[in-house]
Point group: none
Chain length 410, copies 2
């Protein structure tokens, strides 16, 4: 089965956004063994949309179209697709109810144009939208399949997952990927450690990619079924695990904060955070995980010196003598938040994220992380490079990794 992804939207053609929808759908289709041969992007223009969909019907078995399902005048994807196939649009009662519910809940009047979103091509399979209003459709037509999905990624992604897991198990076998997540090793160093494995690869294959200081290894096997794929993957994953050891934080594509919350739960420990340069980002990441309230009770964003003294009991003398960005203050912040919150662990972060605030002795990118537990307090110095955003992101990951390592003695 070969596929084509059509993204509809003028915002793509003027370069306002990148076509990350096509990337996501491509990844998911590759996982189930569907070959994507083309991506196309076309604007909210009737004639060019017709031309593009007709061409896709000639050359591709599966056509996934995203975008243009909104309530406004220039959202015409559904209308155009239905017209090409010769299906009338009919009201989908359940979707209409969902849209009505939605407006009731948010206490806003439902506008007439939103009703248009509940129309679907007659006889098609509906993909429910749990994060927005436009339902998706799966249209089977002359041994071809057209899938219509909305454009906003947070709506599109779960709907794409839904149609892939429910309707498109490929008969030629499966492609199964596992993602090994690594922190604290550069891509080149990592590659050196497994160079022989990379050189020998055929099935499974190994690919590395890095993002904001994390490296992900994707190992992918093609097989007749999932069990066979697992049998191919497991020995390779074991070998990589032995080689990279402590630097691996997940072999199940988890986020670092997910792993940290899981370990805290398993150990029955609680944590509190005192953040300066990260300004609440670590708390936000931890509380992003459902059920984080079991292990996380309190965070303090102590941006000013005054708040470090008042909320955490940092000594004014230490701030004067060593400065806010120092081992000493990081330690006092960690001990302070642990004491104030009554948590098992107290983690602190203080640093200079830039662009301003750097000096010769304390340049932008200098960060201290402190960690206090029942045994005492530790602190670490980091010198990061990059802009404000990069420094803050890598600091968040480094802090989460410190928690992981301290709880697993790595």
């Amino acid at each position: 089965m070969n596929a084509e992804i059509i993204a509809v939207g003028t915002e793509l053609l003027i370069g306002q956004i990148a076509n990350t929808n096509a990337q996501y759908i491509s990844q998911r289709l590759a996982e189930v063994g569907v070959n994507v041969y083309y991506h196309s992007v076309v604007g909210d223009n009737r004639n060019r949309m017709i031309e593009t969909i007709k061409l896709a019907l000639l050359r591709s078995d599966l056509i996934v179209i995203t975008g243009g399902l909104g309530p406004t005048q220039d959202d015409i994807t559904k209308e155009v697709a239905a017209e090409i196939i010769g299906l009338p649009l009919v009201l989908h009662k359940e979707s209409e109810e969902r849209i009505k519910e939605f407006f009731k809940k948010i206490n806003r009047p439902m506008v007439e144009s939103n009703k248009k979103q509940a129309l679907i091509p007659d006889g098609t399979i509906v993909i429910p939208n749990n994060n927005g209003m436009a339902p998706g459709s799966i249209i089977n037509f002359n041994s071809k399949t057209i899938v219509l999905l909305p454009g906003p990624p947070k709506e599109m992604k779960p709907m794409c997952d839904y149609f892939i897991s429910n309707d498109l198990i490929d008969s030629n076998g499966v492609i199964k990927s596992k993602y090994i997540k690594i922190f604290g090793l550069g891509e080149a160093t990592l590659e050196k450690k497994i160079l022989d494995l990379i050189k020998d690869q055929s099935n499974p294959t190994i690919a590395t990619y890095c993002n904001d200081g994390e490296v992900t290894l994707r190992v992918t096997a093609r097989a007749r079924n999932i069990e066979e794929a697992r049998r191919l993957l497991n020995p390779l994953i074991s070998e990589i695990t032995v080689r990279l050891g402590e630097f691996i934080y997940s072999i199940n594509d988890e986020k670092l904060e997910e792993v940290v919350v899981k370990i805290l739960k398993d150990r029955g420990k609680t944590i509190a955070l005192a953040e300066s340069c990260t300004g609440g980002m670590i708390s936000a990441r931890i509380t992003d995980i459902p059920g984080a309230s079991k292990v996380f009770q309190q965070g303090a964003v102590t941006y000013s010196n005054k708040s470090k003294v008042n909320s955490l009991g940092v000594e004014e003398d230490a701030l004067i003598k060593f400065g806010a960005v120092s081992h000493e203050v990081a330690r006092q912040m960690a001990e302070g938040i642990r004491r104030v919150s009554g948590s098992d662990l107290g983690l602190s972060v203080t640093g200079i994220a830039g662009p301003g605030g750097g000096t010769e002795s304390k340049p932008v990118g200098l960060v201290y992380i402190g960690l206090a537990d029942e045994k005492g307090v530790n602190s670490w110095e980091y010198k990061f490079t990059g802009n404000r955003d990069s420094v803050r992101q890598i600091t968040v990951l480094s802090a989460l990794d410190r928690i992981r390592r301290s709880l697993t003695d790595k």
Copy 2:
């Protein structure tokens, strides 16, 4: 002049990378008034590449192709393009010298396959590559233009800039867009308010799109020069500003947190935050803005009831009587953080982000925002829909918007 961008590369079709090259080239072409009507992506496959380029020659005046100019076997873009047009490939001496120089510099022997990169379609204009080996080409053919650029963004971008500034200054003028950012109005409601403007549009044009509760209006003018574009845009922007009024937070494509920090600075006010369900996200957003330390001193992430009592002075009675997610507790949190921090404003958030924790009387999505200032304290109730992430994101925006409105009396 209308254009099409073709990106060549299997890594795009399997979703390993997003097509950021097409985004970049689209932006640059829009700046010089060239309409991009299509993006296409095709793999390193001879037949599909021929089909794609031939189709582009039928429907587009300018075709920009990126990728597939490397030294390896599967880099065939140049060969395929030359074949379609009927031009032989000839050695470009200067490029050959550049490649030789490059290998001398890095002290490595030049590989035979790299010589292939110095070949160009006969008679074409060469775009020098200062960051890599493959030169680019501009091929004029039957009143069409094909531009070949390499795939790596750091090579492609300056070469794109070069050909745009040297060879394609569009005689038809410029395209200028302004982005109006709106919060608190649904896309459909918003459209109703400006439907006549949308229906009348020709130049400037109006487009709406929404993301996570925010709506952006793009107004775009075509003109002979920037001044004329501004003269076309300004009356329309004024009219939209009158119609949408308080719901507009920026007419300069700013983020809501940017606007909030700016207003706080202008007014000489400081703010402190007490976050429960958003877990530090609002603090993180505000401290993302360089120089936020002038207006933001302290945040408290009070996830547990205990921390609400201990750090903010929320009354235990209020927690028992009204529950943590209530008007009363939101108000006490806002007053508490204002008092503890000594800031001018205290903002609080308490809610149920889900997926767990909801009850019939207090469902997932129920959120209270409190805001205390020198005049007293206010609180607002919200009922959001969507998953944990959506509820948290829209809560962050709603809180930021409350600050903006309170400071500007909107």
